[in-house]
């Protein structure tokens, strides 16, 4: 038997959608996390509710790499429908655990095989019959605990956390796990090299998904109004608002916020624009199809200068596409969203931590700039479990932007103009309904208007308004989050990435250097338009690889249009099949292009 491989492999559990394996999988994930091992958990699930194959992959990485890998060393299969595929997926030398009631041919000698008496163990469990299918999942938890060396105390802790301390479920579940563990101890002989052992690399960290983080960030950003329409993978963002707002934001039983499920996305953004116009911190959350439906209202908000925040938790498209698969494919649509000349501000969180941070920052930006601010997350970031620093309380006070109230208008004796560029930053002042000063009211519209918001068809006025909006966009460039740069001395090549692709890029850079590739500098872009730092980085390197999870190299196209002088040095490493990018793919893509220089 070869040398042990500790805390550095991937584990995939194959079950049937709806069989309730989520508790078992999360229990494993939590136990490993509590053992101090860097991990990430990714759920690959079908777009239906019950009966189809589903896979949960836990990556253990002592070096702290959290990106998806194509290779998997340990596989657990409880699903006859995917059994063959699961068996084939095990890396040579790996381990294959399977329910012994699955009577299907096994044709591999290059891996270790471990049958598990799942049904038998579940039958012994003292739970109501209706629960047997569910509890069966605990069997593989026990077996894996024994065979990989997972600390049973941590397993217990995980269950306690999951069942919020309720003894009944904790015990029933733990009993099954423990008896399965004992069965494995007595009946299975370890013949594969994959083990876990305690480390100290998760202390002080938490695990969370991006949608929960985004909701919490929005709450700490003071969200007052959210209108949404259900859509995978964005639903859990709004649902998390429903979960956390009542405890965090009620004053003696009364709410200072409203979350409203609209009849569709056209209405969701319409309501959000209305709330933003009336002076509230307003947001909506959706995915690609919703963004397309929001195009018209987004244009109205841009031109009438209404602040609002729009979260797009991206899934792969075009069209309905694969609702449960990830991609970074809505970038160009949003950058040019709505008819006529528009320039949209886009935030690109690259971690669960930033989902929280941009959750509150987006409101400051939207109200400061008086325009829509888009935040682009995706299914991988939004719905999967990521290890992260604890969410940081907002470092800066709320920026409510340029709002005039009664007292302000009294000072100016009611003299003001809604669309006048008083400060030279392209951002005008606004009043909101409820301001009772007789000079406060103005009439919003998506039609041509002058500085006093009056309708006009005068062509010079039109052009001046549009020119001011360009100036405002230029101001935005200096307010949006700067990129994260890593520029080691001697780097010739620059790599640009964003969002959920960043972890794979960082890992790929290591692999590249190990493989004797060029030393690379890295920029993780966190917003559009490009800040000065971003532009500087782009000007600096002789070759720039732009890595993204879409087909058409969307960021590359946007950067080429924005910085045509630099465009010849751009190279696209774009790939999109519904799965998060892997470090291996990125490294192969770049090195193949490097050769042909």
């Amino acid at each position: 038997m070869p040398g042990k491989v500790i805390n550095d492999f991937s584990l995939t559990i194959a079950t049937v959608n709806g069989s309730g394996s989520q508790t078992a999988n999360v229990t494993l994930l939590r136990a490993l996390f509590k053992m101090g091992i860097p991990i990430s958990g990714k759920n690959l699930f079908p777009s239906n509710i019950q009966g189809l194959p589903t896979w949960y992959t836990i990556r253990l990485s002592k070096d702290g790499h959290l990106a998806r890998r194509d290779e998997v060393e340990v596989v657990v299969s409880l699903n006859p429908a995917s059994f063959a595929r699961d068996l084939a997926s095990v890396q040579p030398g790996g381990a294959f655990y399977y329910a012994d009631d699955i009577k299907l041919p096994i044709d591999r000698q290059d891996i270790s095989l471990y049958p598990m008496p799942v049904k038998a163990q579940a039958r012994q469990a003292d739970v109501s019959p209706s629960l047997r299918d569910y509890i069966a999942n605990m069997v593989y938890v026990g077996v894996l605990a024994q065979m990989l060396g997972i600390d049973m105390d941590k397993v217990k802790q995980a269950l306690t956390f999951h069942f919020k301390g309720k003894q009944d479920p904790i015990n029933s579940n733990f009993k099954v796990i423990e008896s399965a563990r004992q069965w494995a101890e007595q009946n299975l002989v370890k013949s594969d090299p994959y083990y876990v052992s305690p480390m100290d690399k998760t202390r002080g960290l938490i695990m969370a998904d991006g949608n929960t983080a985004a909701a919490l960030g929005s709450i700490y950003g003071g969200v007052q109004f959210a209108a949404w329409y259900p859509i995978t993978p964005a639903s859990s963002l709004a649902e998390s608002l429903n979960i956390f707002l009542p405890t965090l934001r009620k004053k003696d039983g009364k709410a200072n916020y409203a979350v409203l499920q609209a009849e569709d996305e056209l209405a969701a953004i319409g309501m959000t624009v209305g709330a933003g116009w009336s002076g509230l911190r307003a947001m909506t959350s959706t995915s690609g199809p919703g963004i397309s439906l929001m195009a018209e209202y987004a244009g109205l908000a841009y031109y009438s200068e209404v602040p609002l925040v729009i979260w797009d938790v991206q899934r792969i498209g075009p069209s309905t596409g694969l609702p449960t698969r990830t991609a970074q494919g809505d970038l160009t649509e949003i950058n040019y969203l709505s008819h006529g000349d528009t320039q949209q501000v886009i935030l690109l969180p690259g971690s669960v931590y930033e989902c929280f941070e941009f959750g509150w920052k987006a409101f400051d930006l939207a109200e400061r700039l008086q325009m829509p601010v888009f935040v682009l997350s995706d299914l991988d970031l939004g719905m999967n479990q990521w290890m992260t620093e604890p969410f940081a309380y907002p470092q800066t006070p709320m920026d409510r932007g340029k709002i005039l109230w009664e007292t302000d208008l009294e000072k100016s004796a009611g003299v003001w103009a809604r669309y006048k560029d008083v400060d030279g930053d392209g951002i005008p002042y606004r009043t909101v309904p409820g301001n009772l000063h007789p000079a406060s009211a103005w009439f919003g519209r998506g039609t041509g208007h002058d500085e006093n918001a009056r309708y006009t068809e005068d062509h010079a006025t039109w052009e001046a308004m549009m020119a001011r909006l360009v100036k405002k966009y230029e101001t935005a460039r200096h307010l949006v989050p700067a990129p994260i740069l890593d520029e080691p001395a001697g780097a010739e090549v620059g790599i640009i990435s964003y969002g959920s692709s960043a972890p794979a890029v960082e890992e790929a850079r290591v692999l590249l250097e190990q493989a004797g590739g060029p030393k690379t500098a890295s920029m993780r872009l966190r917003a559009l338009p490009c800040t000065d730092q971003a532009r500087e980085f782009i000007r600096k390197y002789s070759r720039l690889y732009i890595v993204e999870a879409n087909r058409d190299g969307q960021l590359k196209q946007i950067l080429a249009a924005a910085m045509p002088a630099e465009a010849p040095r751009f190279r696209s490493a774009a790939h999109s099949d519904g799965l998060p990018l892997t470090a291996r793919w990125i490294m192969d893509a770049i090195s193949s292009m490097e050769k042909i220089t």
Partner: protein, 346 residues
């Protein structure tokens, strides 16, 4: 179309002129203008402070009219068919304000149907006026969803579809206030406006408001006598003769029926609800609307009212202060709470 200044002050200490808007840019004789006048009159007589009204509209000739009244009120001329949603969001800003929306039949019953129905179902507190002319005025005379079946319009052919009955739609969606009137019946329009503005919840007001310019039969379209001879059509869509607004002459009493001739020679039949009609009986409301449709006449008056249902705002149980006056200390939870949250994240 500004209102003659009246120095007399109402209980809000305001003169009628404090309720006026910009001059109308609608056609002379457009029914929409008389409605704008009645809105001014109603708000003045109800002593409403203009700053406490929010005006909304979609896109259309009708949707332009919010600029022709209440200059001192906030307002938003939104997107075609999308006033329902922007108004629904806006009312959360300051719950002390009243919302007043003006839409058209195309804006509400064609492109805006979905949003309209859901706004009604949510009992959004708003006075929602449909200036109903059975045609798309601003885009020059195509059919709207409330056009009579069989109506023939220039370049459009004959309308093969059944018309949408806005009051019936409101009722089906459980509106808590449903009324219909005719732009030419200023007295009734004003009374219903006052009732609507005093209603807590959604008040749908379907006001028949003839389009002098486009709601014409093809055969009648712009016909004139050239010289001494017989009538012949003038193929000049850009020529719009100045016509007077249609006003119902004399008293139009409750329970009576009145035939009104429109500019193009066609006519509509109005039936004013009896004094003893009970507007709180929903099944009765369905019955009279269904019957009127069969008899091809238009019921006017307050068709249905329910004052018991909570409004959309009620259902959210909001703090008393206007949400848009809240500040960071109200809106950002304390730092300790975040530690608790982080602890929950395993």
């Amino acid at each position: 179309m500004t209102t003659p200044a009246s120095s007399q002050l109402n209980k809000a200490g305001l003169a009628r002129t404090d309720y006026k808007g910009l001059p109308s840019t609608l056609c002379a004789g457009c029914g929409h203008n008389s409605i704008a006048n009645q809105i001014i009159a109603a708000c003045y007589e109800l002593d409403i402070v203009p700053e406490k009204i929010m005006k909304f509209s979609g896109i259309g000739c009708s949707s332009k009219s919010p600029t022709y009244f209440l200059n001192r009120s906030f307002g938003f001329n939104s997107l075609h068919g999308r006033m329902s949603s922007i108004a629904t969001g806006a009312i959360f800003g300051d719950s002390r304000l009243r919302a007043l929306g003006v839409s058209g039949d195309g804006d509400t019953a064609s492109i805006g149907m979905g949003g309209f129905k859901h706004m009604v179902r949510r009992n959004v507190p708003i006075t929602y006026i449909v200036e109903n002319n059975g045609v798309y005025g601003l885009t020059k005379g195509q059919f709207s969803a409330t056009a009579e079946v069989g109506l023939v319009l220039k370049h459009q052919g004959s309308n093969p579809y059944m018309p949408v009955d806005i009051c019936m739609e409101a009722l089906a969606s459980k509106a808590t206030f449903v009324a219909r009137s005719f732009a030419g019946d200023s007295k009734q329009v004003k009374e219903l406006l006052k009732a609507a503005l005093s209603h807590r919840g959604v008040a749908v007001l379907d006001i028949i408001s003839p389009c002098v310019t486009f709601n014409n039969q093809e055969n009648a379209i712009h016909s004139y006598t050239w010289g001494k001879d017989h009538e012949a059509p003038l193929h000049e869509i850009s020529f719009i003769p100045a016509l007077d607004e249609i006003e119902i002459q004399g008293e139009f009493d409750a329970g009576s029926v009145r035939e009104v001739n429109l500019h193009d020679g066609s006519s509509i039949v109005l039936k004013k609800l009896d004094k003893d009609y009970d507007p709180t009986d929903r099944s009765k409301a369905f019955q009279i609307l269904e019957q009127a449709e069969r008899e091809n006449l238009l019921i006017t008056g307050l068709i249905y009212i329910d004052t018991s249902r909570p409004t959309l705002l009620d259902t959210f149980n909001l703090v008393d202060a206007p949400l848009n006056r809240l500040v960071e200390t109200d809106l950002r939870p304390a730092a300790e709470t975040l530690e608790k949250i982080n602890a929950l994240m395993f």
